[in-house]
Amino acid sequence: MSANTAMAEKYRNSFLKEIEEQVEMGDWVKMCMQCGVCSGSCPTNFQSAWEHPPQELFMMIRAGKREEVLTTSSMWNCTSCYNCIVRCPRKLPITHIMHGIAEYAHRLGLAPKMQPTRFFSGLFWKNATQTGRVNELKLSMGLYFRNGFSAGVKEGMKMKDVALGLMKAKRLNPFEILGGHKCRDQKGIQAMLKKAYEIERSRKAAKMAG
């Protein structure tokens, strides 16, 4: 049974409960009073419109629209500007809830596969935790070459002027490709993160069983 089927089975009567127990800050969802200030304050919703802006997602969760919520690309539009958080009259940590729902959809394998910010988010975390510090060159190349070599070259050409400008200003180092900046205690970082994932998984499993 896939992780998704197991969760759907367990929480079949209440998607709200599933979000409360499995999503970071998910227990705040029920506090939403549907005023819509979050949606009106969101820069990417203003520019290009989310399929379902935050307050809509909150109501959909309460209405049990599990598949629609977990497969939408909406939350991945979050720029982490925190405007929704500071304006919410009920003090919901909306930015964190959006990240939390996105992370959960990603964990269950339901998030849209080709969503570029989903891809970049995973890439960033792997890049940062691999050596303990971000390697900006590898991060950009990993993004541009995500759809194969020829697509990568095309993307890279679009970015040529930006990259050359940065190199000239000594703000992009081509030699980062050979390794670049890193932490000394990488072994300790890996061990510590492995433990953190273990603990987090067991806490979520315990909630599910309880």
Binding site: Q47, F120, W125, R171, I189, E200
Partner: protein
């Protein structure tokens, strides 16, 4: 002994050859003038930034920040941690807040840290460099060191998001923070308090993953600066600086605009005003050169 001493968390983008290396150069020079000693936390790691959320989960993200707290405590017990990057500061402060409010999260974090041979006994204070300037040093003291006021230079103070929300600088409003305008005024330049895009988001990490969305926002930020007569933009955030500066060519192509406006760090303005050289202020680190500042620095 220096007048002010802190544990320093420079962050990934400030490293040599990285996208905000010019920020660090100017901060170092600024701190020398103000007698501020920053001691780098040995072997510090990435804060995870906001964008790592798909894989980071909750505990691993906090553990990354907690490792920096533990290293800081081990090497510089009792010292406050100062970050220059908005995202590092926000990430670390968020972890501090969450761990302080949840015994479970704290216990879990300590258990994970043990794997790296580290622990936390005391939660450090997490400060942004602008907090240090405003609260510990103060505008009067900052102003005392101005040797070459940036007279007649009109500068739009672009505060952006993450030094402003959700924590912000004490005493400031989220919608219209004034500290950056006050800093522009302090160095003798002309601030634009009515600049209406001062807290608009630059698109953050979406500038990489979905550039068309971020660039639509960046266009508004720059357009408004021009509309208000600004000849340069100043910001306290490394990602704001990069996003607003480096994509101007691409935005010009998309929108038919003719943007070519320098985007500076507050620390660069201060170094030039304090009589530092163009090199001290890392003016050579701009993609769009700030000619007016170069002229003043060369005088």
């Amino acid at each position: 002994m220096a007048k002010h001493e802190y544990a320093f968390y420079p962050g990934c983008s400030s490293q040599k050859g990285a996208s905000a290396s010019n920020y660090l150069t100017s901060v170092e020079s600024m701190c020398k003038t103000l007698d501020v000693k920053l001691t780098e936390i040995p072997d510090w790691n990435c804060c995870g930034a906001s964008i790592g959320y798909a894989e980071a989960g909750e505990l691993p993200r906090h553990v990354m920040n907690a490792r920096n707290f533990a290293l800081s405590e081990q090497h510089m017990p009792g010292k406050e941690i100062v970050a220059t990057c908005a995202a590092c500061w926000l990430g670390a402060r968020e972890t501090r807040e969450r761990l302080t409010h949840s015994d479970t999260l704290m216990a879990d974090t300590k258990e994970a840290l043990k794997e790296a041979g580290l622990t936390i006994n005391e939660m450090p204070e997490i400060r942004h460099m602008v907090e240090v300037l405003i609260e510990d040093i103060g505008f009067d003291e900052m102003k005392k060191h101005v040797k070459k006021p940036l007279e007649g230079v009109k500068i739009a103070g672009y505060v952006g998001c993450q030094t402003n929300r959700p924590f912000g600088v004490a005493g400031e409003s989220f919608e219209n923070p004034m500290y950056l305008d006050m800093m522009v005024d302090m160095v003798g330049a002309t601030p634009i308090p009515e600049y209406d895009m001062k807290v608009t988001c630059c698109g953050g990490a979406l500038a990489f993953s979905e550039p068309e969305k971020a660039q639509a926002q960046i266009k508004d930020i720059i357009e408004s600066a021009y509309d208000h007569g600004a000849e340069m933009i100043v910001t306290p955030c490394p990602l704001c600086q990069a996003n607003v500066e480096i994509y101007q060519g691409q935005i010009n192509k998309t929108y038919g605009t003719k943007f070519n406006i320098p985007v500076m760090y507050y620390s660069q303005l201060m170094v030039v005003a304090y009589g530092g050289s163009a090199k001290d202020a890392a003016l050579n680190g701009q993609l769009i050169r700030a000619r007016r500042l170069e002229e003043i620095a060369a005088k």
